[in-house]
Symmetry: C2
Subunit: 343 residues, 2 copies
């Protein structure tokens, strides 16, 4: 079985020229140029690859029109990232300055930077829709895909709303965090792209349900893993600055669990770190140590693993039916890769 | 002929219960509740009325499904207003606090307010699409309407980008202002809603072109009129704080023309007022006086009138053809009303 990393890289190689071609259609002066640069920074192209393998799963052969369709979810991804980065006041994305930061520097105005990035995000959502409505697929399928993406964005926005509310409230229960995770990530990053592929391959309700059984737990596992990387990962691999989640006061499963499990003293240390913009390296290391030692890290790792196993069981179920073997193997490798990413 | 005000009010009476019903479908806890309140504040419902009369223009009879379709453009309008208000740092909208202000107050954080309003705007765009994809019209027409709205949003975003760039640059030529106006308003506020109606009535290319000949000049006239109201209007009627455009440093046709026509001293006064957050009442009055006396105001009024006449000529052209008389009269009254709004 090919490793997930290789599978994603090989899909990215197919995908990237389509992305480039897509932008050639637009005048890339002004905003479109910034958006193109942002989209071309790389990224794993996970979501487009899932569109592709959702399509292949139903026995469809490779075709340019499905690669083209997979651009849409990457444009939606760009839209959500650009807006998220404003809300999170992030400075780096994929190892380069976030879009609002680029604009802010150019015009020496934070206000201008945010305003332009709001617009650029809005534009990306429009570009996704523009692409979808021009695809070479039957009308009915296009409309169903548009509705599917739109539903996923609604869920993501509601998840993000909950995220901001939890952050503003300061302390969260693991139960709330998990509810937020369920809304925020699995649908738009895993279920929606796979189901887009299934819809475009004219799959039925049963097919949609089965890919969900894989996608949702994988998405939750991924989100938990993302937290772990955010605190224990290497800047080189994650492209994000270390401790950023802590500084921002982000409510994560790790933090919630550590606060639930920790001693009074430990809780105090974590609470003081949370949302502290002037966090020192020592404070980050202290928080890490507590999260490791009081079992929050192993709790999160275990939960992530359980969810991964669930996702794999769904694949095994599909294996007993008439789904494409190559696509199933790709989905298994991708699952492993997404959860075992380098720390 | 019924006055435009009455026509819009009577459409709003039909429209508002549909809007209320639409929100009943969603849980109005959290964000959806805020969005509902925002949408229900009133407003002229100009854009939905244009959808309706675009449909009627082709001889179609009144039906609930077209009123329902007209909700979409109002939701898009809400999306654009909510994001615009963040960018413009506006405090009032329709006589009440802007959405980012409501959130900011609630959580005592400007950052939180802006973040939630970014999300709420995104959500409104999704709601519009959700509504459109569920309409009781043939698939092909729905997809064409989705594409039409999307194209209009793209134009509006590009117009807004140009607007921000001109504002950041500080001084603009009337030529640039007019280019920005052409992008920003006429398509999404006039052409797009009318063409939506025409498309849903299964109109042809010729019909689409004719409504454009009415919509585009009317949109430009409206935008110019909006500037005039922004500077010379009554807060009671406009719902916006007086001098807000000046304080914000907005580049308007009035300001650009006054700077082109003014004496050195007059230019200095206007430049000092522009973007000055601590603008005094006296300074606002001084700027107004200059804009009146050096002919910028009459230039703008004349241009607005010429565009209005153009729009009316397009209606006369349609009158000679087989378009619905009642709809034509409504469009004429609406045009008059939009340009002759109270100062």
């Amino acid at each position: 079985m090919k490793p997930g990393k290789i599978i994603l890289e090989s899909y990215a190689k197919q995908f990237n020229p389509f992305l480039q071609q897509f932008f050639e259609k637009y005048k890339t002066e002004g905003m479109l140029g910034y958006i193109e640069e942002f989209c071309q920074r790389g990224g794993k192209r996970l979501r487009p690859a899932l569109v592709y393998y959702g399509y292949r799963l139903l026995g469809r052969r490779h075709s340019p029109r499905i690669v083209k369709a997979s651009l849409a979810i990457e444009l939606v991804h760009a839209f959500l990232l650009i807006h998220d980065d404003i809300m999170d006041e992030s400075s780096l994305r994929r190892g380069k300055p976030t879009l609002h930061n680029i604009y802010a520097r150019e015009y020496k105005s934070a206000r201008f930077g945010e305003s332009m990035a709001i617009l650029a995000g809005d534009m990306c959502q429009c570009l996704a829709l523009d692409l979808l409505s021009s695809l070479n697929f039957p009308l009915e399928l296009k409309l169903r895909v548009i509705k599917k993406i739109n539903d996923a964005i609604i869920k993501t926005v509601l998840g993000q709303e909950l995220d901001l509310r939890l952050e503003a409230a300061g302390v969260s229960k693991t139960k709330d965090i998990l509810r937020m995770y369920r809304l925020k990530t699995p649908q738009y990053s895993f279920e929606c792209p796979l189901q887009m592929g299934v819809i475009l391959a004219e799959g039925r309700l049963r097919d949609l349900q089965l890919v969900s059984e894989y996608a949702i737990p994988l998405g939750i596992a991924f989100q938990i893993q993302d937290d772990i990387l955010g605190l224990f990962g290497d800047k080189k691999n994650t492209g994000k600055s270390i401790g950023a989640d802590l500084k921002q006061g982000k409510q994560t499963l790790l933090v919630a669990k550590a606060l639930e499990k920790g001693s009074k003293k430990e809780r105090k240390i974590i609470r003081e770190a949370l949302g502290n913009k002037n966090l020192t390296k020592h404070q980050i290391e202290e928080a890490r140590r507590i999260i490791k030692e009081n079992g929050a890290l192993s709790y999160a790792k275990k939960l992530s693993r359980t969810q991964l196993q669930r996702a794999k069981r769904a694949l095994q179920k599909m294996q007993k039916q008439n789904y494409n073997q190559e696509a199933l193997e790709a989905l298994e490798s991708i699952a492993d890769f997404m959860i075992e990413r380098k720390m």
